[in-house]
């Protein structure tokens, strides 16, 4: 009896823990990198689970740019006011697998010749 319930409890724990591993594989994003050149539309926002910003690409498409978690993004030197709204930027990241969504998990932002590597291990 004892063993059976320990096994049952262990299964619950594993079931609940499983998605946590998936998080770091960036499920839901394309595996190959996409590079987008454009201008900053909405300044960096350092609240929430991930920092965010928006850019407008050369064709006028607005992209939701998902950066690293706020502390990590700030440590990479990227925070509000660093890039002026309207300035030319280039980003590299993994685009959402759903091509109807213009969202990209970004590893590097380039502005004025400077690279902000929010995920240096993924570039």
């Amino acid at each position: 009896m004892h063993t059976r319930f320990v096994a049952l409890a262990g299964t619950f724990a594993l079931t609940l823990g499983a998605p946590a591993f998936a998080h770091h594989g960036w499920g839901g994003q394309q595996t190959e990198k996409t590079e987008i050149a454009g201008t900053l539309k909405t300044d960096v926002n350092l609240s929430g689970p991930h920092a965010t910003m928006q850019i407008t690409d050369d064709k006028g498409q607005v992209w939701d740019v998902t950066l690293a978690p706020p502390p990590r993004t700030q440590n990479a030197g990227l925070k509000p006011g660093v890039i002026p709204v309207g300035a030319k930027v280039k980003i590299v990241g993994n685009r959402n697998s759903d091509l109807k969504k213009f969202e990209i998990k970004t590893v590097r932002v380039t502005y004025d010749g400077k690279n902000f590597d929010v995920y240096p291990d993924r570039t």
């Binding site: 319930f5 619950f12 998605p19 499920g27 609240s47």
Partner: protein
């Protein structure tokens, strides 16, 4: 629904969360997870006992730590959860896991309230337990466990939608 999300995001709490520094979300998220762990762990022990595990441990002995811990865990999880929700409330628009999670929480609370008024619950310390009371407690424990597993699983999956 849309109006509620916009209102939550624009609330003072949402404004406070967004202006509290880069670690605010992470720290509140940590407390939320610890609270959920406290709630779920307590509920798991009590519900498995109702389902028939550890019959030699008196229910009264298990109730004493698990029920207050579950209530405390729920309250802390509700408060921190509201903080997390208001930070970027409108991003949850159309997320089915949010609906599933809140429905499961509502059912879990409703179940707890109903069970507390059952004759079987009032007679739960009887030795031996009447068979129909035992069956009622099995249903109560099973329903509770299903609700809280669903709530925790849907909550975890919100970020993957």
């Amino acid at each position: 629904m849309e109006a509620l999300l916009v209102w939550l995001q624009g609330s003072l709490l949402g404004e406070f969360m967004r202006s509290s520094g880069v670690w605010a979300y992470g720290v509140v998220n940590l407390v939320h997870i610890l609270s959920v762990a406290t709630l779920f762990g307590s509920v798991l022990v009590l519900d498995l006992r109702l389902l028939g595990a550890w019959r030699r441990v008196p229910l009264a002995a298990l109730e004493q730590p698990t029920i207050p811990l579950a209530v405390a865990g729920f309250c802390c999880a509700a408060i921190t959860g509201l903080c997390l929700l208001t930070t970027n409330a409108t991003e949850y628009r159309g997320n089915p896991f949010v609906t599933i999670k809140f429905a499961a929480i509502a059912l879990g609370l409703l179940n707890a309230a109903l069970v507390a008024s059952l004759p079987a619950w009032r007679a739960r310390h009887a030795e031996p337990l009447e068979p129909n009371h035992r069956r009622a407690l099995v249903v109560a424990g099973g329903t509770s466990l299903a609700c809280w597993i669903t709530a925790a699983a849907a909550g975890r999956l919100i970020g993957y939608w």
